[in-house]
Symmetry: C2
Subunit: 324 residues, 2 copies
C-alpha cells in the first residue's frame, strides 16, 4: 500500500489525538502549527496542505483547490457550505477530488437534538420546569390543558439526508403523518415526499416543521416570510440545519404576531447572535447554541469515521458520506 | 337495559360536560352540588352517592364503602392510592365492587412526559437553552462534550403497567438496554424484568432510572437512600409515579453529594412543595408541577373512556383499566 500524506488541521486532543496518530499506521500525518478551534470554524490556511494526498478537517476552500495533489477531503462537520458552490463542485469534479463530510457521525445527536426540541415543546417544559403550581390553580390548568401528545400529529421535515432519516426512525412510535421535502425524491424515503414546488399544502396542515436544510445558494432564505405564512397558525418551527436558511426578521415578525406557535433553533445567523438581537427576546423562541451535534467522545468518533474512510480510500473502495 | 344511576363528582365543563350528559343516554346522572376541583383532588363527601349504582370521579374511599348499592367505581385518574389498601380491596371484593382507573387515558401523555425528561436531560436543554455561547468557548465546549445520545444506553423502569409499556415502545428506536421492575413478572413485558429483590444489580449499571410506581403501602419510600446508593454515579433519576415513593431528604443528599447525575420529577410529596423546600434549590433537580398527564381535551377523553366502560358495564362485558 502506498504511503499517503494526510494533512489534518483539526485540533484533536488526548485520546482522539492518540487514536489518530496510531490509526494512520504507516501513512504520514502532516499537522500544521495553527489548527481549527472547533469543527465549526475554518482553520487558518497553511501551505503544508499542498504536499498532501488527503485533507482532514476544515481547510479553507481556496487552499483545497490550490493543493493539486489532494485527492480526498474529509470534513469534520456535517455542514459543508463553503465547498457547496458550483465553482468548487466543478473544480473538484474536473480533477477527481472526492469530498466526504461527517454526517454519519452527527446524524444520531442531531436527530436526537431535534427530537428533544419536539418533546420539550409538546410537554411545555420551558413553561413547566421550576413552576411549583398548586393543582387546579389557573396556571396549572393552563399547563395541563396546553400540554400536547405527539401521537398522530403532522410533521414536515425540510431536507432529507441521514439526519432526517434518523429523525423519522425516532418518530415511528408516534404514528405521525410525516412528509419530507426533497429536491429530487428517490422513492426510498419511507415517508411521503414533496418537492419545494409543492410544499405549500404540506406546510398548511403541519403541526411541526423541522428544517435540516444545509446552507447553499438554493437554501439561503428558504424559510421566507411567505413560507412562514403558509404554515398554519400555531405551527411549531424547528431549525437544526443552518441559520442562513431562515429569514430571521420574518421569523421574529411571525412570532410577534402570534402566527407561529413557537420556534426552536439550534442555529442562527450569525452565531452567536449579537447582544440585543430580536431573536434573543422575541416570545416563544427557544435557542441552543449550535450544540445539536455534540456528544460524548465526539472527537474520537470523528477520528474513527476518518480512519474507516482512510482504509476504504487506501483500498480503492467507496468512501462513506461522500458529498462531492 | 335497566336504568343505571351514575354519581359523578368530577367537575366537567363545556364540551366534556355536554358529552357526558348526552352520552349517558337513558341512564340517570346524579351531580352533587360540590364537586372535585381536579382529577387529582378528592371531592367533598356527598350523601347522594348512596343512591347510585356507579360512581365516576374521585369520591372519598369511606363514602364508597358506605354506599352499598355501588357496583362500579370509575376513577378519573391513573393513580388510585386512597383505594389501594388491603381494607378497601377486601371490602370491595367481598361485595363485588369493581374499580377501574383511567390509566389508558394517561398512558400516552405520561409516557411522552417521561420521555421528554430523558431527551431534555440527554441534550442538556436546561443548561443550553438561552445560552448565546460562541463556538469553541469553554462553556460551549462543555455543553458539546456533555450532550448525550440515548442510543444504546441502559434504562431501568420501576413499575410495569400501561405507562411503562408505552414508554418502552417510545424507546424502541434507541436500541437501549431496558429492564423493567415488576413485583410479579408475567413474561409478556417484551423486555428483561427484575423483581424488587434482585433490582440492585440492574440499578448499578443503569444510565437512567425511571419510576412509574403508584403509591401504596409497598411502594412508599421505595426509592430509599439505599436504592439511590445502588445507582451508579452519574445516573439520572426520573419520577412520574407518586412523590411519596421517594425518600426526598435522601434524594436531596444524593444530588448534593454529586452521586446522582440529575433528578427529573413530575411528582413530589407534598404537591406543591412548601416554599424553601430543599428540592426547589438543590442542584440538577428539574421539577414540573404534576403536568405529565395533561393533554388537549383531557376532560373529553376521560368522559369518552367512562362512556366506553359504561356501555361495557351495562352489557355485562369486561370493563377496561380494572384495578380491583
Amino acid at each position: 500500500m502506498p504511503t499517503l500524506r494526510i494533512f489534518c488541521d483539526a485540533h484533536f486532543h488526548g485520546s482522539a489525538s492518540s487514536l489518530l496518530q496510531t490509526g494512520v499506521g504507516a501513512h504520514k500525518l502532516i499537522l500544521p502549527e495553527q489548527r481549527g478551534t472547533s469543527v465549526l470554524s475554518t482553520a487558518p490556511t497553511d501551505a503544508a496542505i499542498s504536499q498532501a494526498d488527503i485533507a482532514f478537517g476544515q481547510p479553507e476552500a481556496a487552499s483545497v483547490l490550490q493543493a493539486t495533489s489532494l485527492r480526498w477531503l474529509q470534513l469534520t462537520s456535517a455542514g459543508f457550505t463553503r465547498y457547496d458552490t458550483p465553482e468548487f463542485r466543478a473544480a473538484a469534479q474536473a480533477r477527481g477530488l472526492v469530498v466526504t463530510n461527517s454526517s454519519s457521525v452527527y446524524s444520531e445527536p442531531c436527530a436526537e437534538h431535534a427530537f428533544s426540541f419536539m418533546m420539550a415543546q409538546a410537554r411545555k417544559l420551558p413553561e413547566a420546569l421550576g413552576k411549583n403550581y398548586a393543582s387546579s390553580s389557573p396556571e396549572w390548568t393552563y399547563l395541563r390543558e396546553n400540554s400536547v401528545c405527539l401521537l398522530h400529529q403532522r410533521v414536515v421535515v425540510l431536507g432529507y439526508g441521514t439526519i432526517a432519516a434518523r429523525l423519522i426512525e425516532l418518530l415511528a412510535p408516534f404514528h405521525m403523518q410525516i412528509t419530507a421535502m426533497r429536491r429530487k425524491p428517490r422513492g426510498d424515503e419511507g415517508v411521503a415526499t414533496v418537492t419545494p414546488e409543492n410544499l405549500a399544502s404540506a406546510l398548511a396542515t403541519a403541526d411541526h416543521v423541522v428544517s435540516i436544510l444545509p446552507e447553499n445558494a438554493d437554501s439561503r432564505g428558504f424559510i421566507s416570510a411567505g413560507r412562514l405564512a403558509q404554515m398554519k397558525r400555531g405551527a411549531i418551527f424547528y431549525n437544526i440545519g443552518r441559520g442562513a436558511t431562515v429569514d430571521q426578521p420574518a421569523l421574529v415578525e411571525s412570532l410577534n404576531s402570534g402566527h407561529l406557535g413557537a420556534a426552536w433553533l439550534d442555529v442562527t445567523d450569525p452565531e452567536p447572535l449579537p447582544e440585543n438581537h430580536p431573536l434573543l427576546s422575541v416570545p416563544r423562541c427557544f435557542i441552543t447554541p449550535h450544540t445539536a451535534g455534540g456528544h460524548e467522545n465526539e472527537s474520537e468518533t470523528l477520528v474513527r469515521h476518518f480512519l474507516g474512510n482512510l482504509e476504504r480510500f487506501a483500498q480503492g473502495a467507496p468512501v462513506r458520506d461522500r458529498v462531492i
